[in-house]
Amino acid sequence: MNKNLVLKFTSVVFKISRILIALLFAFLLIIGIGAFINDDFGSGTIIRSGGMEFNSPENVEEGLSSFAKSNPVQFVFVILQNMAILVVLFNFFGSLLKIVRSINSLKTFAEGNIKAFKNVSVYAFTIFCLKLIEILPGKISFAIHFEPIVVAAFAFILAEVFKEGHQLLKDNELTV
């Protein structure tokens, strides 16, 4: 596999991820509204901080509607938290897509990539913050997820590397 093929594959993966995130966002919105309207809505679905689970109804201890009715504040918080994470993830993949596209068009050390990596770092840190409070039906806990922090730090380092690369490129362009 050559470089271009890998980049194209990565680009496709990021695009698909963005589409899936947009669909999940729409699904969450429907779930959020539907659980308050219909009592039987989403009986096989469990929602909590960090995502959703789909089970057969008999295995579900507390379905969507009962969670929404028993703890409406927590339920709305979980829905909003998941939506916020999806929005940030959507932008996160958007920035990565921008970087991959610029590498593909041989503009690797363009100024836009420095900004894109900084954005990736900020998005990863935002996800870390959003995941600090974890809500399970009837239970609130505090959780530290290290993965987003590692990604944020890595992206920030890469932004600095690209900054250096951009400076070298500029110097090289002005060398006769």
């Binding site: 110097d171 002005l174 060398t175 006769v176």
Partner: protein, 74 residues
């Protein structure tokens, strides 16, 4: 920048055009323009050698150092 490039002065002395020099030394007119306008951050020894050969001059004829005090006078 305190380093002044006097390529245009030497070009005038030798009655040579920028395009002709660019062709002789193997750089683009745009790059030669960067050098002439003082925007260049660095000059390769190979380029300097080619310019000296083409204009039959010494590197000192092309480059000049002007301190900040001298620069403010101009």
């Amino acid at each position: 920048m305190p380093i002044i490039v006097n390529v245009d002065v030497m070009l005038a002395k030798r009655k040579m055009q920028s395009k002709e020099l660019a062709d002789k030394i193997g750089v683009t007119v745009a790059n030669l323009s960067i050098l002439k306008t003082g925007k260049a951050k660095a000059v390769r020894f190979s380029t300097l050698e080619a310019i000296c050969k083409a204009l039959d001059c010494q590197p000192g004829d092309l480059l000049e150092f002007r301190g900040e005090d001298e620069e403010s006078r101009y």
